[in-house]
């Protein structure tokens, strides 16, 4: 790389905080024209936040950004357009009932008369230059995910983007579509554009990028030439040294088979396959960790077990109750599962959108699981109230009163209420999704402790997590999901952080 060139983008000491947390801390790096830079990092390492500052979604709290050597204040997506920066988000910003051309023309000012035909011609031109396949007159609602992504890229190019940022572009693509995308990106590089691609897939990083910049926990680690990097070296940079955490891992002698998940396939509401042939067993008396890049099917997997996600035919979910009876949970609604006498607890990722009623107090939230008990028309409130008080006292929930709407509590206290309720029903299976996300150290340790208690009671605990150090210290076994498939189940005591990081980012041949 010719370092005498003026960089297309320079970050100098860029910092962004959300509340007390640093999303990005003192980031300094250069990005050049005519290169494809991969921005690599774990979940929550600050990749997207950094790029959002470049595309005008966020404004940095500190530091400076230079575009082509000139200091820039990018305060809105519009500013970013004017500087020739285009970002393709994971959630596409398209109007469904509009054609491709109409979407491209949206919001463009000062280009003379409205002339879709001329615009369509220019779109075709752009497509020809870079090798896109796009029908300008096609409506967005008729498009596949890949076509929508193409449209987003064309939209950015039409507006004269010289610097193109793609946020995990291949997450939604088939391998063939991803290949096509990469060839287009190479064409853009040949045209002298700057391409920044946010990803955690190492194989892709190696095959497409010229250089790799690595972020970890909001901080900038290093930029390396791809040619000198290997999957292993990148994984080490990405996950960092193993941090010893003082989380206990009590051993439990009698593990009993509790849950068998076999060949589960599932699609999301958009028709994309989110789970492919997922099989595993969960035992009472152990914590099964689930690791994976976010959006690799963790949510759908837990929801499938809880009866909230439809699974395809041929899937099987079996539950062995402590008395030795085996029952299928397949196709059962949460209510039916409950009626079968199975105590299944689920701490969902979306605490206030799904797990707790934000506008209700603790008592009202305790009722969410138990309100329909009994035959009376009146909902029982005495027991929930006592339970709420018990949880408040035992878990030290800080709240003005058990009737204060829970959404006014702090994140840690909200989670204590949710986990407390789920544990209170003496579950046989306890599933948690990102149970410590956003929690401070103390609250996190409270949660780990609660999970360990459950494990010692013989509960089958499933712990979906994102911090590999925590997964390694807390869990007994770790299942690694990659792209909706099980890419390995490893013993947490034996494995290394690198190995898990590798499994998260590299789908094994035999699993693909």
């Amino acid at each position: 790389m010719n370092t005498n060139m003026t960089p297309a983008v320079t970050f100098r000491g860029v910092t962004k905080t959300f509340g007390d947390n640093y999303a990005n801390k003192d980031i300094t790096m250069d990005i050049y024209s005519g290169e494809i830079l991969a921005l690599l990092g774990e979940n929550g390492s600050g990749k997207t936040t950094l790029m959002n500052m470049l595309s005008g979604i966020y404004y940095p709290d500190g530091g400076e950004i230079f575009i082509r050597g000139k200091k820039a204040a990018i305060r809105s997506p519009h500013d970013a357009h004017e500087l020739g920066i285009g970002m393709i988000h994971q959630h596409f910003k398209l109007v469904d009932v509009f054609t491709a051309t109409e979407n491209v023309l949206l919001g463009i000012r000062g280009e003379g008369k409205y002339n879709p035909a001329a615009a369509a011609a220019r779109i075709r031109e752009i497509c020809a230059t870079y090798g896109f396949e796009l029908d300008p007159s096609q409506k967005v609602y008729d498009m596949t995910v890949s076509q929508k992504q193409t449209l987003e890229i064309v939209k950015a190019l039409y507006r004269g983007a010289e610097i193109l940022i793609l946020d995990e572009p291949t997450a939604v693509l088939t391998p063939q579509e991803a290949d096509k995308l990469f060839s287009v990106l190479r064409n853009m590089r040949a045209e002298g554009k700057t391409v920044i691609i946010i990803t955690h897939k190492l194989q892709e990083v190696l095959s497409i990028s010229d250089r790799v910049a690595i972020l970890r926990k909001g901080g900038y680690i290093d930029t390396v030439d791809t040619s000198s990097a290997t999957e292993l070296s990148l994984t080490e940079l990405m996950v960092g040294k193993k941090v010893e955490l003082e989380i206990e891992r009590p051993s439990v002698k009698d593990r009993v088979l509790r849950l068998q998940v076999q060949h589960v396939n599932a699609f999301n509401s958009e028709g994309t396959q989110v789970l492919t042939d997922v099989s595993f067993d969960a035992y009472g008396g152990e914590i099964l960790g689930i690791a994976g890049i976010s959006g690799c099917g963790q949510k759908e997997l837990l929801e499938a077990v809880a009866g909230l996600q439809k699974v395809e035919e041929g899937s099987e979910i079996l539950y062995d109750d402590p008395k030795g009876k085996r029952e299928s949970l397949l196709g059962k609604s949460p209510k039916q599962i409950k009626r079968m006498g199975i105590s299944l607890s689920f701490v969902p990722e979306d605490r206030l959108g799904m797990g707790l009623v934000g506008s209700m107090g603790m008592t009202g939230n305790m009722m969410l699981k138990s309100y329909s008990d009994g035959r009376s028309l009146i909902a029982e409130t005495k027991a929930p109230k006592e339970l709420a008080e018990k949880i408040r006292d035992e878990l030290e929930v800080v709240t003005p009163s058990i009737n204060t709407p829970v959404r006014r509590l702090s994140g840690g206290n909200i989670q204590k209420v949710l986990v407390g309720r789920e544990i209170a029903s003496s579950p046989a299976v306890l599933m948690t999704a990102y149970a410590v996300r956003g929690l401070d150290i103390n609250a996190s340790y409270t949660i780990y402790h609660l999970l360990n208690q459950q494990k010692q009671k013989g509960v089958a605990v499933i712990f979906v997590g994102e911090d590999l150090d925590v997964l390694l210290a807390l869990c007994d076994r770790i299942l690694v999901l990659c792209g909706g498939r099980v890419n390995g189940i490893v013993d947490a005591k034996e494995t290394t952080k690198e190995q898990i990081g590798y499994l998260m980012t590299n789908l094994k041949e035999e699993n693909a």
């Binding site: 204040a73 809105s76 949460p334 969902p348 979306d350 009146i378 909902a379």
Partner: protein, 380 residues
């Protein structure tokens, strides 16, 4: 340079949602808006007809509560408004925009009138039972249809219920015209026999006292409905389900609640109470049917229910307030009509007051944060 850009681009303030305003403070805002509205109206009245504020307010009070007959008129109208608002409350709590109360009341009233018009031979108890059941079923159907299409295919309930109003009005008009025949108006049904009237329940000879007052029983029944609804929403399992569905459909699924079932059940209930309200009005108040039966309160009740935030006792207060304004303004119009203060001026006053009061909701739900104070405000 960077600072200059900051100045150019930053708006003066931005708006932040808040959800922690104490109830008292929130009511402080609402009452403040109400007082402001009263003051503005006083100015308006002074400019228009040169009536000083003291005379204005005392006339308003007089019109609403000045004599026994005024009080009765106010209470009756407030009860009717309250009944419809109460009927709407479960739907609104579920975040289902039932704009169709006017039609649901009309069709319920129509069903009741149909029974009392055609089945005069039935024994009183049976007749009343049939009237009640008919009105509840009719209102229930009017509530069920939009809910069914909302649940099955997500049809816009606001537009659907709105259209249902006019269908009900035309149904009523149809029977009105049919029964009217060649007369100029339908007049009172069963005027001589009083069949189907509340008054037919008690004997003619004990005419005095509250116990034989149709209006009194009208109000009592509605207060009972209000109380029942309060506890239904607050204490029952179904009420709990309504709250959860209103909060988020996803959460309802998580809790094992069948969202479609709750939508259907709740809307049938909402429509049924509206229908029952129609029966009450026909049987104890109008003793006849016309498309003006609900006197537009089906729409006003939407505002009452929204302002009261699903609390039926609050609805009683808000209904009384709105009706008192109407009645007070009506007396203003009677008294100063010669000077040009018409009954429509009263409508303008009530409308302006409502606008101000609903406008105060903004300051309850949001706060303006001025840029300079950003950091301190956030820290606080």
């Amino acid at each position: 340079m960077s600072n200059q850009m900051t100045k150019k681009r930053e708006p003066l303030f931005h708006i932040v949602r808040r959800d922690n305003m104490p109830m008292l403070a929130a009511w402080g805002y609402r009452i403040g808006a109400f007082v402001l509205a009263l003051l503005l109206n006083a100015v308006f009245v002074w400019c228009m007809v040169r009536v000083d504020p003291i005379t204005f307010y005392s006339t308003m009070w007089e019109g609403a509560f000045g004599s026994e007959s005024y009080i009765w008129a106010t209470l009756k109208a407030a009860a009717k408004l309250l009944c419809i608002a109460v009927a709407l409350s479960p739907a609104f709590k579920m975040r289902f925009w039932n704009i169709g109360a006017e039609g649901q009341v009309l069709i319920g009233g129509m069903a009741a009138a149909f029974v009392m018009y055609h089945y005069t031979a039935l024994p009183t108890v049976v007749l009343f039972l049939v009237m009640i059941i008919a009105s509840i079923i009719a209102g229930g159907i009017w509530g069920f249809l939009p809910a069914f299409f909302k649940a099955k295919m997500n049809a816009n309930e606001t537009l659907f219920t709105l259209m249902m109003n006019y269908i009900a009005m035309n149904v009523v008009d149809y029977f009105y015209d049919k029964w009217r025949g060649f007369r100029s108006a339908l007049g009172i049904l069963n005027q001589n026999t009083k069949i189907g009237w509340f008054a037919s329940i008690w004997k003619d000879n004990d005419t005095d006292g509250l116990m034989t007052n149709e209006d009194f029983w009208f109000i009592v029944v509605i207060l009972v409905i209000m109380t029942l609804m309060f506890f239904y929403l607050k204490l029952t399992k179904q009420g709990y389900e309504i709250s959860v569905v209103g909060e988020s459909h996803n959460m309802a699924r998580y809790a094992g609640i069948s969202v479609n079932k709750v939508i259907l059940r709740t809307m049938i209930l909402s429509g049924a109470i509206c229908g029952f309200c129609g029966f009450l009005v026909v049987s104890s108040q109008s003793h006849t049917i016309s498309s003006g039966l609900a006197s537009g309160y089906g729409f006003t009740a939407i505002i009452v229910a929204w302002l009261s935030k699903f609390n039926t006792f609050t609805m009683a207060g808000v209904s009384l307030l709105i009706v008192a304004l109407e009645k007070g303004s009506a007396l203003m119009a009677n008294t100063y009509g010669m000077r040009g203060f018409s009954s429509s001026a009263a409508d303008v006053m009530v409308g302006a007051m409502l606008l101000l009061i609903i406008g105060s909701e903004f300051f309850i739900n949001y706060k303006l944060m001025f840029r300079k104070k950003d950091k301190e405000v956030q820290a606080a």
